[in-house]
């Protein structure tokens, strides 16, 4: 065995890890035979296979992906960049991607951009240096520089969530403009006429801004415009929705509907209305976006539109896998999901 380590904290952090060469030596075969035996082995004799396997087990051999990937000139990495982990939406997308990659040799590597274009660029540049086999990024609104980086990487790029724009390669998601418009149409159809909008950080959350624009466009077609709006610079949260709604109500605009940037905000809004003793949905109907699971459990129902987040993640993973395998016809580049409006 190797010489003993110097007794660092807890376990020994200095022990050299066994290499393939040592495994081979112990098994009495060459490096190559050991290499072949250790990965599903095509042409290896049963004896060699058994000996290599037990040698590896005895030594606690862990293969070095760095060396493997460098040598093989390809990695099993898929880079994934999402803007945030502070609300359940992107974790669900990530979960879908993770599930979609399962069963394949590909492994996801995640990064968070915090809705900051500069940080997104840094995160993506960093990931690309690991030579991933594909990239999955959120949205279509990267900076020109970031876009060039992705386009020049020579790997398939999947852009998630947003369909309102031109993708680098592949695009999986929904049109947020259409989603906003569809919600407006449904609410108008339900007889609502006096609308307010409550949102947050629209400069950062571009997709929420696109929904708002679609919403207002559709209202305009009926000659209606927003009666009021409350927009905070902070990120969305239930508490923020509650606060903004409370002050909006206090201003007595005679509203009959409030469109929120998402379900979290809308739930907060609902709680504010409940505390004020306002009849929901009789007097005012809050409407959100995402179709989060908890909306169905709320004591009073609000309107929302369902975005199939896990499925978008799964699809993105599938698309990436197909593209890596070179199985793309060149026509199927856009995967459109329709948000389902729930009143």
């Amino acid at each position: 065995m190797t010489t003993a380590g110097e007794g660092m904290t807890g376990s020994d952090h200095a022990m050299a890890k066994p290499t393939l060469e040592e495994v081979a030596a112990r098994a009495g075969v060459s490096k190559m035979t050991a290499s072949r035996a250790l990965r599903g082995a095509a042409d290896v004799s049963p004896e060699s296979l058994a000996r290599v396997r037990s040698a590896a087990a005895e030594l606690g051999y862990v293969r070095n992906q760095l060396a493997l990937s460098l040598s093989a000139q390809r990695t099993n990495l898929v880079g994934v960049v999402v803007p945030s982990m502070s609300n359940i939406v992107f974790p669900e997308v990530v979960s879908g991607i993770s599930a979609g990659l399962e069963g394949s040799p590909m492994q996801a590597v995640f990064g968070i951009s915090d809705y900051d274009p500069a940080r997104e660029h840094a995160v993506i540049a960093n990931m690309l240096s690991w030579q991933p086999s594909a990239m999955i990024v959120t949205g279509l609104d990267q900076t020109a520089e970031t876009r060039a980086l992705l386009a020049g990487a020579g790997i398939p790029v999947v852009q998630l969530m947003d369909l309102d724009g031109e993708p680098v390669d592949f695009n999986v998601g929904l049109s947020h403009g259409d989603a906003g418009a569809a919600m407006a149409r449904a609410l108008l159809g339900a007889g609502r006429r006096r609308f307010a909008y409550v949102g947050s950080a629209l400069d950062k959350d571009i997709r929420a801004a696109k929904r708002k624009a679609g919403f207002e466009r559709m209202l305009a077609e009926s000659g209606i415009s927003l009666v009021a709006e409350a927009i905070a610079p902070d990120f969305s949260s239930i508490s923020l929705g509650k606060t903004l709604t409370t002050s909006l109500i206090d201003a007595r605009h005679g509203l009959d509907c409030i469109y929120y940037s998402n379900d979290d905000m809308a739930a907060g809004g609902l709680f504010a209305l409940m505390e004020k003793g306002i009849d929901v949905p009789g007097s005012i109907l809050p409407a959100g976006f995402n179709g989060l699971d908890f909306v169905a459990a709320l004591p009073v129902h609000i309107a929302t539109s369902r975005s199939p987040r896990r499925q978008i993640g799964r699809t993105a993973a599938d698309v990436a896998l197909k593209a890596i395998a070179g199985e793309t016809s060149g026509t199927d580049r856009i995967y459109r999901f329709e948000p389902e409006v729930l009143l």
Copy 2:
């Protein structure tokens, strides 16, 4: 330039990426000078620096971390494994880790175990093959095999969230047994006497099971035991909390308090109670765990205990960074956070 690619989907996925050697050639210096210039350079003449930089920019050079890490015998990777991304708790931890690593050269790589020990083993084994500089994993209850893998990896291991057990190296979190006991003590102090428990997937969510055990232990000290319990095999959710609570209420146990496995379940429970017209907290007080932000916004308050999730993540990142840098005295291995009970 290279020969044109074959017009694949969108961008050209066949273009060879420029290497350091090509950058050096273009700049008219050696590989080594280029290498030194590209990473903050100690001793490189200003001219060389400028020429290498512009050559790299012109070529769109992206450095190959695979080669770099293999050659340098170290990576800037920190492996992170969490059980789930389906509720906001672990995304927040992940967010904290990500923030804690910012500013350092280290980069987090995330994996999801789905609360499955076999999958956790596979995910960790996979990560270790990338030769991370540290590992951050959730909980203390890995299988013996997984634990051996971590202990033998020769890198610092930080175990997150749970303090009830023996860590491999470092431990950052809270005692869930104590948290359950503290909540029981607080509820008893508030005069509650007839308790039910509502939970889910306790075989998988070991920390929830530890809270329940601590809770019951404290009740027992006052000669009290649970009047009823409802435990489903599914994972926790607001809807599940609502469903289980509804059936529990229908059984008329004369409860005055329900302890839930977490805040999601408790919020669902609250909604069930509200729909039944039961006075909260007058008749029945629901109590959860986590101290999620939305609890404060609920129309009626429930009890909870706050677990500092982001801070645990940040601390874990700090501990990992210090350990990587070799700045651990060997005594500061446990970082204990106290859950704050909020009635």
